[in-house]
């Protein structure tokens, strides 16, 4: 069946079963592969996107449940040519090893900074409680988010 999604400011049509997890529609129908499968159970955060301003794990929410809502994926955050301050900070801090968790963390961080432009260290840690990193880049990620927040406050 045809479902209409609002993704990254565009209206997109997806031919998929209503029960299809949003993750697969994003990756396989819309080609937005920056959102990644890690567990399918909403436990690791690799598939985090922003829906109506809130971070949501796209692996355990159906396309039918998000029809008409505003979905933002990592692809809309910025590009290599025009980086978002968060992405710039991740590069400056070299805040990745394998990088598989990065998209989800960036989206969780954006959702935080959108409502809390001056987060404390504890705010940032708590905002990432649903995101796992196995390589151990935690310190770099936390520093990157803090410095991006500072840059965004400066404007």
């Amino acid at each position: 069946m045809a479902l209409t999604l609002q993704v990254n400011g565009q209206t997109r049509e997806v031919q998929a079963d209503a029960e299809t997890p949003l993750l697969y529609a994003l990756r396989n129908d819309l080609g937005l592969v920056g959102t990644r499968y890690g567990c399918g159970l909403g436990q690791c955060g690799a598939c985090t996107v922003i829906i109506d301003g809130k971070p949501v794990q796209s692996c355990d929410i159906t396309v039918a449940a998000v029809a008409g809502k505003k979905i933002i994926t990592v692809e809309a955050l910025g590009t290599v040519q025009a980086l978002h301050p968060l992405q710039r900070a991740f590069i400056a801090e070299q805040a990745a090893q394998c990088g598989y968790c990065a998209s989800g963390i960036l989206m969780a961080a954006k959702a935080l900074l959108d409502v809390n432009p001056d987060p404390s260290d504890a705010d940032i840690r708590n905002a990432l409680d649903g995101n796992l990193c196995r390589c151990g880049t935690h310190g770099r990620v936390l520093r990157a988010i803090k410095s991006a927040a500072a840059e965004m406050r400066r404007g």
């Binding site: 697969y24 567990c39 070299q94 990745a96 090893q97 394998c98 598989y100 390589c135 151990g136």
Partner: protein, 712 residues
């Protein structure tokens, strides 16, 4: 003749020795670029960036000119497996030499063309200039035959003092793409007409498929094929979620004959099994008695690599099912050994199998990357002409990846009345730490064992010393006058075991470093000073002193019942990176590691920030292993299936980490991916002792174990 013998006896650096053709490694292109084709692969460790630096350095070109080609069996040098923190030594030193020789060849051509001597030439970003005027570029001078030759001996690479690119923290080449959501992993590849596959595994390691009526699954939406071969069972569907749904139905209707019961999940079960016993070090008189004798036993459980991305591969079968060729994309750490194993399963020539590496998530050792590749091939063979992408589900990865072996380590020592160790005994019990593809006399791929005509696994084993496997880092680096080290290898394991970061070096160094602390306490000595007392190696002493200095370690410092600090040290494999750490713990409801200070010496650091990133990551991952991790199973099979069953360290729990790099540009460069694991686990155990006066010897250090240790 004498010369030929000479050449055969001499060795070229790293993997160049076994892959001598220069154009297997690099090509100088007319368009102003240099193509580099290493056989080692990126697994999140940043190796490709370091290799780019080493080539740019020797060729005197901008790093932006270098084009990296993913490793492929079609053209890349066979560098075996990307593991053991050996990529700088093997791939890096090969490329350094090859690039230096390419530069020599280009300069010889320039000298001839310009009619000047070699000595009058200088190079800047590929432009060769003569002192008296005149210039030519690499891109004009190069021709396809330039590097169509074997590497020579006696090529001089630059002296460390001349380095301008090596030794700088060049930003990783892959991070911009990864933080902007670009396709970066094999999981993200899309081929025209690609289908999706999933595998239904047995309920336990030896269970067999008894009955299956697949008709209802075959009629499900999108299902293209149900593939059954013995106890190997999979499904191919048009859409990914359709494959997942069909797989779930298959799992519900398949009937299995259970295998034999698994034993209890206790590392000490190892001590009850038949072992091959070997004394691997004996020094002085191991019967020497001191004034006081001590003994302790340490254990670690089965651990999972737990890569964030479940393993994934794509296979494209061309031709008929019986006579075809197959192209494969995989995040395997060893594409050549994997090709050999797949060729055995398919009973076809290796030349008909082309494997190309594409990145996956960090793997930290032998995870399911190889297994899922054979899965994809077996499903693709059933649907010729259509590429099939298989990604394991999270539950598959936890249940079926090869685990790090449980271990038991029994240490004994004698102290003299001056507080010196005069005798040391180390006995260890472990399963094998290396069952990767490429083993002799069998096939090390999961699906191969489940086929109608199964192919047996190769005999599980260990890499040999000095690196070693279960016995890695079992021989102490400390100077003891008398010692004996005994390895008990139990090859057959209830659950499959294989390589995970540091192999046996994790548990061996953990045990040694905890026991050193116990002996220091018995001797009334400060644990830092006690280590230095037994250590002559200057580089070893330097990292310990540096870490202690960073932490402002106070000799004899005591914890307060809540907070405490401990030290740990090792030289990885006794021949690679030196690493020392001070860990601080805070114990309330649970143990929390709050801060760590560490010093590392990897010889020449090619990319200092890359080294520090690897060390930080290794430390934080080890905190997770030490405090939280254990694979669980019951008598039927693995019960660890999700992140809820196997929690890892979270962002809320992550410690502050400070790492100092002791750079030694004149020492050979070694890897940084491993070597932190044993010392960090020990430093945590020692910090808990420092805080509470209770000694924990069984990992993980959970709340229950702390309570138990306090009550004895």
């Amino acid at each position: 003749m004498a010369q030929a013998q000479d050449a055969a006896a001499r060795k070229l650096p790293g993997s160049l020795d076994t892959n001598r053709r220069l154009d297997r490694w690099l090509r100088i292109n007319a368009d102003g670029t240099v193509t580099v084709t290493p056989g080692k692969v990126e697994i999140g460790q940043g190796i490709l960036t370091a290799l780019v630096q080493m080539v740019a350095e020797e060729l005197d070109i901008a790093v932006s000119r270098i084009r990296l080609v993913p490793a492929t069996t079609a053209i890349s040098p066979d560098e075996g497996i990307t593991s053991g923190s050996r990529s700088i030594q093997e791939s890096g030193l090969a490329l350094r030499h090859a690039a230096a020789e390419a530069r020599d060849l280009l300069l010889a051509r320039a000298a001839q063309r310009l009619g000047v001597t070699l000595e009058s030439l200088t190079v800047a970003d590929g432009v060769v200039s003569a002192r008296g005027g005149g210039s030519a570029t690499y891109w004009e001078l190069a021709s396809p035959d330039l590097l169509a030759r074997d590497a020579s001996f006696d090529v001089m690479s630059k002296l460390p003092a001349e380095h301008v690119v090596v030794g700088t923290s060049l930003a990783r080449v892959d991070i911009p793409g990864k933080v902007t959501g670009q396709p970066s992993y094999v999981q993200d590849m899309v081929l025209p007409g690609m289908l999706h596959g999933r595998i239904t595994r047995p309920p336990g390691p030896q269970a067999q498929l008894q009955r299956l009526d697949a008709q209802e699954v075959e009629q499900m939406p999108g299902v293209v094929a149900v593939v059954r071969d013995g106890s190997f069972l999979g499904v191919v569907a048009a859409r990914e979620e359709q494959a997942i749904r069909a797989e779930r139905r298959l799992a519900r209707i398949a009937q299995w004959t259970p295998g034999p019961d698994l034993p209890a999940n206790d590392p000490r079960h190892l001590r009850t099994l038949a072992a091959e016993t070997e004394v691997i070090s004996e020094k002085g008189d191991p019967a020497t008695a001191g004034a006081r004798q001590f003994g302790a036993e340490y254990t670690k459980p089965y651990l999972a690599h737990a890569s964030l991305a479940p393993s994934c591969a794509i296979a494209h079968w061309e031709g008929s099912k019986d006579r075809g060729k197959v192209r494969i994309w995989t995040h395997s750490q060893g594409i050549f050994p994997l090709r050999g194993d797949i060729a055995q399963v398919l009973d076809m020539p290796e030349a008909d199998i082309v494997i190309t590496h594409a990145e996956g998530a960090g793997c930290y050792g032998h995870n399911a990357a190889d297994d899922v590749t054979l899965d994809a091939v077996l499903l693709a063979r059933a649907v010729p002409g259509k590429p099939v992408r298989v990604q394991w589900m999270r539950e598959d990865e936890f249940a079926w990846e090869p685990f790090s072996s449980p271990m038991v380590i029994r240490l004994s020592a004698a102290l003299d009345d001056r507080g010196h160790i005069v005798n040391w005994g180390h006995e260890l019990w472990s399963h094998a730490h290396s069952t990767r593809p490429g083993g002799r006399g069998g096939v090390n791929l999961l699906a191969a064992w489940h086929l109608e005509k199964p192919l047996p696994a190769a005999k599980p084993g260990n890499p040999p010393l000095p690196g070693g496997g279960s016995h890695r880092n079992a021989i102490p680096l400390y100077d003891f006058p008398n010692q004996k080290v005994t390895n008990h290898l139990i090859r057959q394991s209830p659950l499959r075991t294989s390589a995970m970061r540091a192999l046996g070096g994790h548990a061996n160094a953990f045990a040694i470093e905890c026991f050193m602390d116990e002996l220091a306490a018995a001797a009334g000595a400060d644990p830092v000073e006690f280590r230095l007392r037994h250590l002559k190696d200057a580089r070893a002493r330097a990292v310990i002193e540096k870490a202690a200095g960073m932490a402002k370690w106070q000799p004899g410092e005591k914890g307060n019942g809540e907070r405490g600090r401990g030290v740990g040290f090792a030289r990885y494999k006794n021949l690679a990176a030196y690493f020392a750490v001070i860990a601080e713990v805070n114990i309330a409801e649970d143990v929390r590691v709050t801060r760590m200070w560490a010093a590392v010496d990897v010889g020449q650091a090619i990319n200092p920030d890359g080294v520090i990133n690897q060390i930080e990551g290794g430390m934080i991952q080890t905190v997770s292993w030490t405090l939280k991790e254990r694979v669980d199973f019951d008598r039927h099979g693995v019960t660890t299936r999700t992140w809820d069953d196997y929690p890892i360290l979270s962002f809320v729990e992550a410690p502050e980490v400070e790492v100092a790099l002791i750079n030694r540009p004149d020492a050979p460069p070694v890897g940084a991916g491993e070597g932190t694991q044993g010392p960090v686990s020990a430093a945590i155990g020692n910090a808990i002792y420092n805080a509470l006066g209770a000694r924990l010897r069984d990992m993980p250090f959970t709340r229950d174990r702390i309570v138990a240790a306090l009550s004895t």
